[in-house]
């Protein structure tokens, strides 16, 4: 890879993701892509495919084979274009990791199983892509399986996901008879010969498929004409409709997310992969087709459009970290300017200046040193200490690619290593995970001395515990999951607190008066309205510090406090006895005094739950949700299936998957993501108080 090639060639780059439902063949397809692009030289099968924990399957597979199929960004070449395949997390819990991968992609392949069709997880994956406006093409895989019905899946794409899905191919034979595909643009049949389907044989369309192909092509051209005046004109004036015209129109429709071209085949049987790669080149966007925004930190967080023109200051996002043999590898995508060996860049999060050492790019099996990463390209930096999601910029620029807002964890779990070796490995794993994912946090509990991990959901933590076991061979036992409750106040209350201590030595004196009141959207606001120096200016910061300290453990239940505004408007000091410490203590006393008068309540995380179930179990599922203090927002019937949307407290959702499975003969699926914090009902609050009292007693005895 030379730099001359890297420059001015962003139109020959595709940064894509492969999004898929578990068990729809993501690993197999990725593997075939790497094989056909000559990145790997032999095809192996995915082992132990049981549909459970497929994410882990692929990681295990990587280990066994020593290649990085699912590494953060794998580079390959096709038709003189460079394709970066970016790993999109396989689990469906909403985490920052998903958001970040989707930011780095310019386009995606949505894989669907021709038998299973669109299922609830495909819906989640699709929603995420829509949220980030990622243009995509669809690949209906497993057309060799019994029950394969690609056109039913296309209908589901339209009905369930609302895509303007248009077939680009029709299959030649189906199930065991799958022989190839008919390309509706070139109107030729493509067969895949050779041991691994590497030799394409292009022939005329078989007679029995000709009329269907003509009909489908007409539909395709019709749909494409919506996006091109040239094509519409050619059709109306009955001129020749060229392949280029059709491709250009479909590309236009795809880039604007108004059309989803659908391809089909069987990755496992090596059918349909090469035309799909052609489509990645022809239909998915290159970096300059996509508008990328950064946030200007100097200018009230106004969004700024980044430009890939040369000469602009560098802006890059670290989207994934990998612990390699020689230290930390930080994958970055450069959005503006370039980053070269020897450059000085700034990490926007902490303002630290960094000297760029080695700049590399990943191939499936090895890495290659390069000089520069240009805008639109993906590469990696070696030996740079950063967290995933950090933005790097040229000195003097203050733009960030990600918003600073990181949701607080809602669930925690204690983990205990079984031996010394596990303890060391666990520490390594925890340090890496918390760097990778800001929603995953870890700390040691002061009271119990246990290591606690926190995250956004049961599954979120399960995935990390599993990774700890598999990737770091850390044997750990986990405790019961605990919900991250919060406290807040519900009304305004005044305080007037004097802290006075005169028991020998230097005395302490400070009086703080004012009020606290509820505030929405922020955790804490402090306002100083003291006039006339009643509290000397040098002690105001100490007051704020004292109030802030009180927010960590609420006086009601010792849960973290949120949504409080503190206003101080009066006070008193003593010329000798007042000190920073005295005012901090006074502020803590004042907080407690005001807080208990301000009707404090406990808040709990409420999750958005979506269950997809066959209609016959609808009543049973609604009953299950109802028993769990769930509020059912609604039910949506879609043929034989029904989707229930509900909100339920996280504390009631532990073990829901097992109960759901047993009540629906394993036919229902559910997804859950954090929604908001809400006040717990009185009865539950009392229960929590009782539990806390019991625990305290146990500690005392």
């Amino acid at each position: 890879m030379n730099n001359a090639k890297m420059e001015n060639a962003t139109h020959k780059v595709r940064n894509i993701g492969i999004s898929a439902h578990i068990d729809s063949g993501k690993t197999t397809l990725t593997e075939r892509i790497l094989f056909f692009t000559k990145r790997i030289h032999a095809i192996h099968d995915v082992k132990g495919k049981d549909g459970v924990g497929a994410t882990m399957d692929s990681m295990e597979l990587e280990k066994e084979r020593g290649i990085t199929i699912a590494s953060a960004a794998t580079y390959c070449e096709w038709l003189d274009h460079e394709i970066n395949i970016i790993d999109t997390p396989g689990h469906v819990d909403f985490t920052i990791e998903v958001e970040r991968s989707l930011r780095v992609l310019d386009g995606a392949i949505l894989i669907l199983c021709s038998v299973g069709g669109v299922q609830s997880q495909s819906i989640t994956v699709d929603q995420q892509m829509k949220r980030y406006k990622v243009p995509c093409i669809a690949f209906i895989n497993k057309c060799d399986r019994i029950g394969a019905s690609p056109f039913r899946v296309i209908d589901q794409l339209k009905d369930k996901l609302g895509h303007n899905a248009v077939p680009m191919q029709i299959p030649v034979g189906l199930e065991a008879d799958l022989k190839g595909v008919v390309d509706l643009v070139t109107m030729k049949a493509i067969y895949f010969d050779g041991v691994n389907g590497e030799d394409l044989r292009i022939e005329d369309i078989p007679q029995n498929l000709l009329s269907e192909a003509m009909e489908r092509r007409e539909e395709l051209v019709d749909a494409a004409s919506m996006f091109s005046d040239e094509l519409t004109e050619a059709i109306l004036e009955e001129q020749e409709v060229t392949e280029d015209m059709i491709i250009a129109a479909i590309r236009q429709g795809t880039l604007t997310c108004k059309m989803t071209p659908v391809f089909m085949g069987s990755a496992y049987k090596n059918k349909g992969v090469q035309p799909l790669l052609d489509a990645v080149i022809n239909l998915l966007p290159c970096p300059s087709d996509v508008e990328n925004e950064a946030i200007d930190m100097d200018n009230d967080s106004v969004p700024v459009i980044l430009s890939s023109e040369s000469g602009k200051p560098a802006v890059a996002l670290a989207f994934k970290l990998e612990e390699g043999q020689y230290g930390q590898l930080s994958y970055i995508r450069v959005y503006q300017g370039s980053i070269s060996k020897g450059d000085t860049i700034v990490n926007v999060r902490n303002g630290k200046k960094i000297k760029v050492g080695r700049v590399i790019r990943m191939h499936a099996e090895q890495m290659e040193d390069i000089e520069t990463i240009q805008a639109g390209y993906i590469g990696a930096l070696f030996g740079i200490d950063c967290a995933s999601g950090d933005t790097f910029v040229a000195p003097g620029v203050n733009l960030t690619m990600t918003s600073i807002f990181v949701p607080d964890p809602v669930i925690s779990l204690s983990i205990v290593p079984s031996d010394n070796k596990s303890q060391i490995n666990m520490s390594k794993a925890l340090s890496r995970f918390s760097k990778e994912d800001p929603t995953f946090r870890t700390y040691v509990d002061d009271e119990t001395k246990e290591t606690i991990i926190e995250g956004m959901g049961e599954l979120h933590l399960e995935v990390y515990v599993e990774r700890m076991r598999r990737e770091y061979t850390a044997k750990v036992a986990t405790g019961q999951p605990r919900v991250a409750y919060r406290e807040t106040i519900t009304r305004k209350a005044e305080f007037n607190y004097i802290h006075k201590k005169q028991t020998g030595g230097a005395g302490q004196f400070g009086r703080v008066a004012g009020y606290i009141e509820p505030v929405t959207d922020v955790d804490f606001v402090f306002e100083n309205k003291v006039v006339g120096g009643k509290i000397p200016t040098r002690f105001i910061a100490s007051c704020e510090k004292g109030f802030r300290q009180s927010m960590d453990k609420g006086p009601k239940m010792k849960f973290p406090v949120t949504g409080v505004k503190v206003v101080i408007n009066d006070g008193a000091s003593h010329s000798v006895d007042s000190s920073e410490m005295a005012f901090q203590t006074a502020a803590r006393g004042a907080f407690r005094e005001g807080y208990l008068k301000a009707k404090p309540v406990i808040l709990e995380p409420i999750m958005k739950v979506v269950v997809e179930t066959p209609t016959e179990f609808l009543g049973a599922v609604m009953g299950l949700l109802n028993q769990r203090r769930g509020t059912i927002v609604g039910s949506q019937e879609e043929g034989p299936l029904c989707v229930i949307e509900a909100q339920a407290p996280l504390s009631e959702m532990f073990g829901f998957s097992t109960v759901l499975r047993s009540s629906t003969q394993g036919k229902a699926l559910f997804t859950m993501e954090f929604g908001s914090y809400k006040q717990v009902p009185q009865s539950v609050a009392e229960e929590l108080v009782k539990k806390a009292e019991k625990k305290e007693k146990r500690v005392t005895f």
Binding site: P518, G619, M622, T631, I632, V633, Q636
Partner: protein, 236 residues
């Protein structure tokens, strides 16, 4: 109190009805308009008014997914409450939600027996028992009389009343009494019929059946920017 103030703003009160419960048990009301004029918006206003009075509302949509229906409620509620304190609004919104249940069906997959099955499910498990049902997108075609009669029986048995949206079409001629075509054969089943009529830039709200005796209150408009009912004093 915010709740009370909002109840006072309810559209039916503007229409001059003495009480909001203008429909008896098993009674039918309908909102008629051409596509895109604001049927759903008015329906959601009526529903919100019932929610504010702590009545259990079942909203059935035969076109839109649950998310879209929820969004309608949020939008109309936001418009209704935009001049009030955010914290109070959020609390009120949370208090309303348990009284609302949304069901969506494909038009072809919807039938009265199916709805009855769902309702029995909900009632038996004590999950939800509607006091008023709003149904958006019910197909008023030639064969509508039978399902509507069944619906009426269901409504009587379960002690609720029903509001429908009815889509009218430009080319369909109304009956001699001005009743729009889709309701011509079934108007006897309805107690109240309200039509939204765009005239120039304004949308007029007209009561075609079951209106109050006092005709002073009939000059109402739907504000096209918020889709909320406004009392047009100029016209009154």
């Amino acid at each position: 109190m915010l709740k009370k103030e909002l109840i006072l703003q309810n559209p039916l009160r503007f229409m001059g009805h003495e009480t909001d419960d203008i429909l008896p048990e098993g009674g039918f009301g309908s909102v008629l308009a051409r596509a895109g004029v604001g049927k759903t918006a008015l329906l959601v206003q009526l529903a919100l008014n019932n929610l504010l009075r702590s009545k259990n509302v079942l909203h059935i949509s035969l076109d839109d997914p649950v998310k879209k229906v929820s969004l309608w409620y949020k939008e109309v509620f936001r418009h209704l409450t935009k001049s009030y304190d955010v914290k109070k609004i959020n609390q009120l919104w949370e208090a309303l939600l348990p009284h609302r249940f949304i069901m969506t069906f494909k038009v072809e997959g919807f039938s009265v027996p199916k709805l009855e099955e769902r309702l029995t499910d909900l009632k038996e498990q004590n999950i939800f028992s509607p006091q008023i049902v709003f149904i958006d997108g019910f197909p008023f075609n030639e064969t509508v009389r039978m399902p509507l009669s069944d619906f009426k029986d269901l409504a009587k048995n379960h002690s609720f009343h029903v509001w429908f949206t009815v889509r009218t079409r430009r080319h369909e001629k109304p009956g001699p009494d001005g009743m729009p075509a889709p309701l011509l054969d079934v108007v006897d089943l309805f107690d109240v019929v309200i039509q939204l009529q765009p005239e120039g830039k304004e949308i007029h709200v007209k009561t075609l059946k079951g209106g109050p005796a006092d005709s002073e209150h009939t000059a109402l408009l739907l504000d096209p920017s918020t889709m909320l009912i406004t009392n047009n004093q100029k016209l009154a």
